[in-house]
């Protein structure tokens, strides 16, 4: 199994090399992406095999860092994330086969990106993990930077590189602290010597910063809405569906597995807080953005936040010796990782199809696409319903589990944590409702209503292969919504890897279980679907029996508004809700306080002839507080460094000499202690 896995990684690397000559031709690009589809399907098979058969074996590759060999292993946790990676990767690659990226430069890094993620997930020592992580970061940077003709893409790529450097700069010391304490790099060695005291606190902080910035947790989330739109659609889908999950894998591996089961209750608190803040902030931004991909990126921040809440609760429950509840929270997080991976991939691909077919990402230039692109609209409807956490779709199942875990937060007995969990419940519920608002807004403005531009009116349905690339994830979203119980049973080894061998998945047969013992609440999606179907049939028959007349079409009533003049073939654009107009209530209600939203109405006095104006804007606080000062600091440092260039040879040499002496002194000091 592990040999096969390492062969897949090798094949992906070779594919990346082969892509360099193949990429300029469309058929070549198709071939490369087709190879990626095959590799990803193989990954799915391997992951399911590992989850069912259980794999504790470690494979030592014949090469590695100078002090040892690279280790690969596929335990439950790795296999679960490999499954997510394989599924989203296969879908995204299939889409890329149907619609190869416009720039040939975006083809070769793609297999490398996949290989890096697989290596990260399958690594069994800290070095291999970090190596895979960096390959992933650099390859995805190359993908983001592929379309570097536009200035904003260059900016996005630069910001992304900085963020990647930051996460490496935090994760390397985090693993370094662990390894220094344990005296070895393999996970087994790290697990054997769990950190305590300030060391553990340092690992927690650095791990949260490093993995959190990659996953897009507040306050280090501001790169996502800039970077995601810059990359080609299938890459964006993979970044949101898989790469953010790989970052969460690192977080879960580091905090729940490698730091040992003996960590206290408060370890969950930072994750809970950060997750809740990200969830609300991301969802609120998603309701305000007017670019489909940016909107989806913000929705990703929200979902990553929810998953982090689940991981934090799992840590806290484990610290309070509440094993079943820890399994509930971790199960919610794992299930949501898979569900979100699938439906967010679907939604990004839909955004890509809409961009290609209707020519825009901006909500204000789209509209009425349900008539031109019915299949895409149907898939999008499935995706937004799942993202809005509506039963019986997949998003609801995992968020149901998560809310059940939050509602059980009071069982820890610590009043501070109880209050936090109650506040977390409120915030998670608010994030869910806001996400529903954002998704409804997305679908309503893009697919419903009337076209807003001639270009949008000329949209057409996507091709056959691309249609399959949308239909498959839509079908998977439906299936995952109906079968959360079996999926959690499949995730059982992952739960055991996270929480110890006693962990039991919060599922029984086809049902999900919230809570423990007799008083557990049940969620049975199949029964729900059956009830809905039967009731729907009966209502339909009853209504049609009483009301047999067929519908007639007529001009729109619109509260008695007169029709638009002939020179406005799509109707008066102002009589249709715009992206800003739909967001206006929430911008006023929440945006002013949370996102510093401003709106300004410029109304001329009667008699004045200038036009009235309305402007609205908002700013993410994290950007102003964090990114701008960081950029200023970078500039200051750069300016300082510039002065070095004017140094004479003697002073340059003395700098090097001084550094050498300082290092030697440090060595002497370390040896003395």
């Amino acid at each position: 199994m592990l040999t096969a896995l390492s062969l897949v990684i090798g094949a992906l690397l070779l594919l990346g090399l082969a892509a360099v000559p193949l990429a300029p031709r469309a058929a070549g690009a198709r071939l490369v992406h087709g190879g990626c589809v095959a590799a990803c399907v193989l990954l799915v098979v391997l992951a399911i095999w590992a989850l069912l058969a259980g794999g504790g074996a470690v494979l030592a590759l014949p090469f590695g860092p100078p002090w040892g060999r690279a280790l690969l292993a596929l335990d439950g946790l790795s296999a679960w994330f490999l499954l997510v990676l394989g599924v989203t990767g296969a879908i995204a690659s299939l889409y890329a086969m149907a619609r190869p990226p416009a720039r040939p430069g975006a083809v070769p890094p793609y297999p490398l990106f996949l290989a890096g993620m697989v290596l990260t997930v399958a690594a069994a020592d800290a070095f291999t993990l970090m190596f895979g992580f960096e390959v992933m970061s650099l390859a995805s940077w190359a993908l983001v930077a592929a379309d570097h003709a536009q200035a904003e893409n260059r900016r996005a790529a630069r910001l992304y590189l900085m963020m990647a450097a930051l996460s490496a700069a935090c994760l390397v010391p985090a693993f370094g602290l662990l390894a220094g304490h344990a005296g070895g790099f393999s996970f087994a060695a790290l697990r054997a010597a769990p950190p305590t005291g300030w060391l553990a606190g340092g690992v927690l902080l650095l791990g949260l910063l490093g993995a959190g910035s990659k996953a897009g947790l507040a306050p280090l989330h501001s790169w996502q809405p800039m970077v995601y739109p810059a990359a080609p659609s299938h890459v964006t889908a993979l970044m949101s569906g898989a790469m953010a999950k790989v970052a969460l894998y690192v977080l879960a591996r580091l905090l729940l597995d490698l730091c040992g089961p003996a960590q206290p209750l408060w370890w969950g608190v930072p994750l809970l807080v950060v997750g809740a803040v990200s969830a609300v902030l991301g969802a609120l931004r998603a309701t305000l953005e007017d670019d489909t991909k940016v909107l989806l990126a913000c929705s990703s921040i929200e979902n990553i936040g929810l998953i982090t809440i689940g991981l934090g609760l799992a840590l806290a429950f484990r610290g309070a010796d509440l094993g079943p509840l820890a399994a509930l929270a971790a199960g919610a997080a794992l299930l949501h990782i898979l569900n979100h991976g699938v439906f967010k991939t679907l939604l990004f691909l839909v955004a890509g199809s809409v961009l290609a077919s209707a020519g825009s990402r901006r909500l204000d230039r789209l509209g009425g696409l349900i008539h031109a692109m019915p299949v895409t609209a149907g898939c999008a409807l499935v995706g937004i319903a799942a993202a809005a956490a509506l039963p019986p779709l997949s998003g609801f199942a995992s968020e149901w589990l998560l809310l059940q875990a939050l509602l059980a937060g009071w069982r820890t007995g610590d009043i501070g944590f109880q209050v936090l969990a109650a506040a977390g419940t409120a915030l998670a519920a608010m994030a869910t409702a806001l996400a529903a608002a954002a998704m409804v807004r997305l679908f309503g403005l893009v697919f419903l209503g009337r076209p807003r531009t001639p270009r949008g009116a000329g949209a057409h349905e996507v091709g056959r292969l691309e249609r399959w690339a949308l239909l498959i994830p839509a079908g998977l979203t439906l299936l995952l919504g109906l079968l959360p119980g079996p999926m959690l049973a499949l995730a059982q080894p992952a739960l055991m890897a996270l929480l110890g061998p006693a962990a039991m998945a919060p599922a029984q047969g086809f049902a999900l279980l919230g809570g423990t013992g007799e008083a557990a609440a049940w969620y049975l999606p199949l029964a729900l679907l059956a009830a809905l179907a039967v009731a729907g049939l009966l209502v339909l028959l009853a209504v049609r029996a009483r009301s047999p007349l067929e519908t007639r079409r007529g001009p729109v009533w619109n509260g008695g508004f007169i029709n638009a003049p002939d020179y406005l073939p799509f109707g008066d654009p102002l009589s249709q809700p715009s992206a800003g107009g739909f967001a206006q209530p929430l911008r006023s209600m929440l945006g002013t306080s949370l996102l510093a939203a401003r709106q300004r109405v410029d109304m001329p006095r009667p008699g004045e002839t200038r036009a009235a104006g309305y402007t609205a804007s908002f700013a993410d606080p994290a950007f102003g507080w964090l990114v701008v000062p960081a950029a200023r600091l970078r500039d200051a440092v750069a300016k300082r460094c510039e002065t070095l260039r004017d140094f004479s040879v003697r002073r340059c040499l003395s700098l090097g000499f001084g550094t050498l002496l300082a290092l030697l002194a440090l060595l002497a000091w370390l040896e003395a202690h």
Binding site: W400, L407, A437, G444, A535, P577
Partner: protein, 319 residues
């Protein structure tokens, strides 16, 4: 035997709620009219309205999509299934194990999304405005509801509606400040979700109305009938939910036999009548608030629910 009784009570429950739904709306309107010094239409007027609307031929806008046609069915069906989960005269019905409060909230959210999408389908200004406001209010109502549910979960140890109701009926909970606070929070959410008085005016049927009706402007015939029926079902659902949780007295057990069911039915009718009267009095006494005061209203509900939970943390910590 147990399953048979469960199935029988479930079927009776469904028939009961279907019959009672238009009457709840009709009674509220009639009582309000009486209190305002008008004679008012008889309580069964909504039934007549529905029958009339069903007879009419529905007209759809030229650019309406399948969403306009399917959404009313989806909304009615989800609300109906949610209502089937809320106990009325008997507990332990066949669907009781499914009857989870989060699921009820999720089903209501599904119905809401169907309504909002129908409002946006034709792309009219009013529909979009109503849709935007509806989803904005839900962002405040959902957390208040969930935190109120947290209070029940602490007391009953579960979010299963049947278990919560049974605990509140049989358990020696006494009068709890926290429950009173949670009840107020639930009431506020119920008013907002049903587009009732301080949040939205259900009496108007014009374009000037703000939220709920604005999304229905384009529907007619059986679609409008379905939407009206869904609104009636939703109002009944919330009243039944409040009755089941906060007034759990007199509810029969499913296996207790027809006599106990009859008593439970009587108790349920009395409770529903009382709640309807309370709603009518409240709506007659109070004025509609401005749209942008609604977040404050629902935010206050959320804070009260949080306070209720905090008080419960204290008392459970002491016990």
């Amino acid at each position: 035997m147990q399953t048979l009784a469960g199935l029988l009570t479930q079927a009776l429950h469904l028939a009961l709620v279907l019959l009672a739904a238009p009457l709840v709306v009709g009674c509220t309107r009639w009582l309000k009219a009486r209190m305002m010094g008008r004679r008012g239409a008889p309580p069964w007027q909504p039934v007549r309205d529905l029958a009339k609307l069903l007879r009419k031929r529905p007209v759809l806008a030229e650019n309406a999509s399948l969403v306009s046609e399917a959404a009313p069915y989806i909304a009615v069906v989800t609300t109906l299934v949610a209502l089937a989960l809320v106990p009325s005269f008997a507990q332990g019905m066949a669907f009781a194990p499914l009857g989870d409060l989060l699921l009820v909230a999720g089903l209501l959210a599904l119905a809401r999304v169907a309504l909002v999408l129908a409002g946006m389908d034709v792309g009219t200004a009013f529909g979009g405005m109503g849709a935007a406001r509806e989803v904005s209010f839900s962002a405040f109502a959902e957390p208040a509801l969930l935190v109120a549910v947290l209070s029940f979960a602490i007391l009953a140890g579960s979010t299963n509606l049947d278990l919560v109701a049974a605990t509140f009926r049989d358990g020696q909970l006494g009068l709890r400040v926290s429950l009173a606070l949670a009840a107020i929070a639930m009431l506020a959410v119920a008013l907002a979700d049903n587009a009732r008085m301080p949040v939205d005016n259900p009496g108007t049927h014009l374009e000037l109305t703000m939220v709920h009706e604005a999304m229905l402007l384009e529907s007619s015939g059986r679609h409008l009938a379905l939407w009206e029926f869904q609104a009636a079902l939703k109002l009944e659902l919330w009243l039944a939910l409040l009755a089941a949780v906060f007034l759990p007295f007199g509810t029969a057990a499913a296996g207790a036999g027809p006599l106990a069911w009859g008593l439970g039915l009587l108790a349920w009718l009395v409770k529903m009548a009382g709640l309807t009267l309370a709603l009518a009095v409240f709506e007659s006494a109070i004025a509609k608030m401005r749209v942008f005061r609604v977040p404050e209203f629902l935010g206050a509900a959320l804070l009260l629910a949080l306070l209720a939970a905090a008080l419960l943390f204290v008392s459970t910590g002491l016990a």
